[in-house]
């Protein structure tokens, strides 16, 4: 499904990523953990096509995304840390904008699709600037999934959200992978990590798989050990 090989990223003399490699199949939930500023968002940015890597390869279903940038938007739905929404517009207008290139029918989805699943149909005429943080995040996910991509990349989706919202998103992500989708997520939240199929630690630019998928105190100890 996705094959990432030797991704490097340099900002001047700073080597943020030093040959990150991994792969993911359909239905997998890949968690990437690491300290703040270690390059998790940069890696997700490269995987989603919004940042360019210094070197390395990304294959989606065997097709080289570095040579065909369109593959990124066809294969990946990306939810950055901040919400990529137009604040002055309504929920419906934001959805319209992301659905305009999609084969999916927005009106139908507002009844039965992801927007309906997240309860956005009741808020469709609300301006985004008046929505709560949780609803904005739900809307961001709905927008990212407008083209029904097989891979969903989320950058710390649960950050500063309440428990109900986190659970709601977690529940949806489970449904998404059950339906054959692939999720790549960065998070510090235990609840978002405990059901991952594989876990990677990004430290000092190096991506290492944590085979025992530690969470909570164990993960902290592991990170300290790596740091030491």
């Amino acid at each position: 499904m996705i094959q990432v090989t030797n991704i490097c990223k340099n900002y001047g003399k700073n080597h943020i990523l030093k040959g990150a490699s991994f792969s993911a199949k359909k239905g997998e939930y890949i968690a990437i953990v690491g300290a703040n500023g270690c390059g998790k968002s940069t890696l997700l940015g490269i995987l989603s096509g919004s940042k360019k890597s210094t070197s390395g390869n990304i294959l989606y279903d065997g097709k080289d995304a570095m040579k065909n940038q369109k593959l990124f938007s066809d294969y990946v739905g990306y939810v950055p840390q901040d919400n990529p929404l137009m604040d002055k517009l309504s929920v419906l207008d934001n959805l319209r904008f992301w659905y305009c290139e999609s084969a999916r029918d927005l009106n139908e989805d507002l009844k039965t699709g992801v927007p309906a699943r997240f309860g956005l149909d009741s808020y469709k005429n609300y301006p985004v600037e008046k929505l709560s943080g949780g609803m904005r995040k739900r809307l961001s996910i709905a927008c990212a999934l407008a083209k029904n991509p097989p891979i969903l990349i989320l950058d710390e989706p649960g950050a500063s959200l309440d428990i109900i919202c986190k659970e709601d998103i977690k529940y949806y992500l489970k449904t998404y992978i059950k339906n054959g989708g692939t999720v790549i997520i960065t998070s510090h939240e235990e609840s978002e990590l405990d059901f991952c199929t594989r876990m990677y630690l990004l430290q000092n630019g190096i991506l290492t798989e944590l085979l025992d998928k530690p969470v909570g105190q164990k993960l902290i100890e592991r990170m300290i050990a790596f740091h030491g």
Binding site: Y11, G45, S48, G49, S50, K51, Q69, K70, F72, S73, Y78, P80, Q81, D82, N83, P84, L85, M86, K88, L89, D93, R96, F97, C100, E101, P127
Partner: protein
């Protein structure tokens, strides 16, 4: 294509959604601008430079009525009346006025002045100027007097020469007839004062009246300040939205272009609405007809591009600034400063030469020029192109700044 059109439509929609807020803010700024404009107009129209010069005329104590009559006639001639005021006063008061600077010059008229002109004695009148600090006005008056005296001298020489010829050749009635003819000829020449003055209007405000000039700088200042109320629409987008647009292959300059079009349409509609209201109001209040400026199609188009140009600058400032509040601060400071250097508050011809030269490189100079062209229906292609070039520069600059920021993250 659909995504571009939709993005454009949404930017226009977002701008119009802010209409009530923009109207309120614009009205507040308009009040401020009108106040500044009123003060500026007062400053220019009431400046001392527009005062007439006072000339003291000292007539002989037992002066004849012809002399008084001649001076009152002289002081009523249009071109003299516009420049100086003749004040009949005593010798002592005149000298006192000359000393304390209230009088520009003193004319001391000798006894039998007019009779001496008639009989050919020609006792000259003495004109006294202050010993020091001779102003431009005093010099102007001296030039006026000199040219008048030269005319009289030439006329006298001409009349006496013909008289002599008639007497020498014993031409019967020659003296009377030739004097009648020459008097008429010289008077018609001398009384037509426009011969002496070649009209060459030099104005600090160019070809605009002071009121029109301040209307122009007022409109530009109003638009620039309105940028503050549009800060929500023109501020930096969060990185997430920029990144997402980039993923959808929507160039950031297109987003900026659409944002500016949205805001421009709002202000263009507001101005057109206000203009149409005035056109309609003149039916009820005919006095509006005298102040209303009728715009042609080119001026309407130029108005759109003027607003577009101003908001391109505003967007550039907001993209350049790190935060919305810093953007507001920079916008306010820079727009005031740039408008001052461009001669928006005091006409640039009255500013130091170095400031005038800097002004040539500022967009506000060309915004004022374009605005002047709009309200006089004389927009030139050159001014239009310079404004378009500035707009393009600002949009590209903003896109470049955004790109730099994205690459740094």
């Amino acid at each position: 294509m659909a995504k571009y059109l939709l993005l454009l439509w949404f930017q226009i929609k977002a701008a119009f959604k802010s209409l009530p807020k923009l109207i309120c803010a614009t009205l507040i700024f308009a009040a401020l601008v009108v106040l500044v404009g009123f003060c500026g107009t007062k400053l220019l129209t009431n400046s001392k430079s527009s005062d007439k010069m006072d000339i003291a005329v000292v007539l002989p104590q037992d002066g004849d009525s012809y002399t008084s009559l001649a001076f009152s006639f002289l002081s009523e001639i249009e071109t003299i009346k516009n420049i100086c005021t003749f004040k009949q006063m005593s010798k002592e008061s005149a000298y006192e006025g000359l000393r304390n600077g209230t009088i520009y010059a003193v004319i001391l008229v000798p006894d039998d002045f007019i009779n001496h002109i008639i009989d050919g004695t020609n006792t000259p009148a003495n004109i006294i100027f202050p010993r020091s600090g001779i102003s431009t006005k005093s010099m102007l008056f001296r030039t006026l007097v000199n040219s008048g005296v030269t005319d009289i001298g030439a006329a006298q020489a001409g009349i006496y020469a013909v008289d002599d010829v008639c007497i020498d050749y014993k031409i019967k009635d020659g003296v009377v007839k030739s004097e009648e003819f020459l008097n008429e000829a010289y008077f018609s020449y001398a009384l037509d004062r426009s011969i002496y003055f070649k009209t060459n209007t030099i104005s600090a405000t160019g070809n605009l009246t002071i009121t029109k000039y301040y209307i122009c700088s007022g409109i530009v200042l109003l638009l620039l300040l309105s940028g503050i109320s549009c800060s929500d629409l023109l501020k930096r987008e969060n990185n997430a939205l920029s990144t997402s647009l980039k993923r959808r292959r929507i160039p950031v300059f297109l987003l900026f272009l659409f944002k500016i079009i949205g805001v421009t349409l709002v202000f263009f509609s507001l101005l057109i609405f206000a203009y149409l209201m005035m056109v309609l109001a003149q039916i009820r209040f005919p006095v509006i007809h005298n102040v209303l400026i009728y715009l042609n199609f080119t001026s309407f188009i130029s108005l759109f591009f003027l607003i577009f140009g101003v908001f391109s600058l505003v967007l550039f400032i907001f993209q350049f600034a790190n935060s919305q509040s810093l953007g507001v601060l920079i916008l306010f400071t820079f727009s005031t400063l740039m408008l001052f250097i461009s001669g928006g508050f005091i006409p640039s011809s009255l500013l130091p030469e170095a400031v005038q030269k800097i002004g040539l490189f500022l967009p506000t100079t060309y915004f004022i020029k374009l605005c002047g062209g709009i309200i006089t229906n004389t927009v030139t292609l050159g001014t239009f192109m310079i404004n378009a070039a500035f707009s393009a520069l600002f949009i590209c600059g903003a896109a470049f700044s955004d790109n730099l920021r994205q690459n740094r993250l």
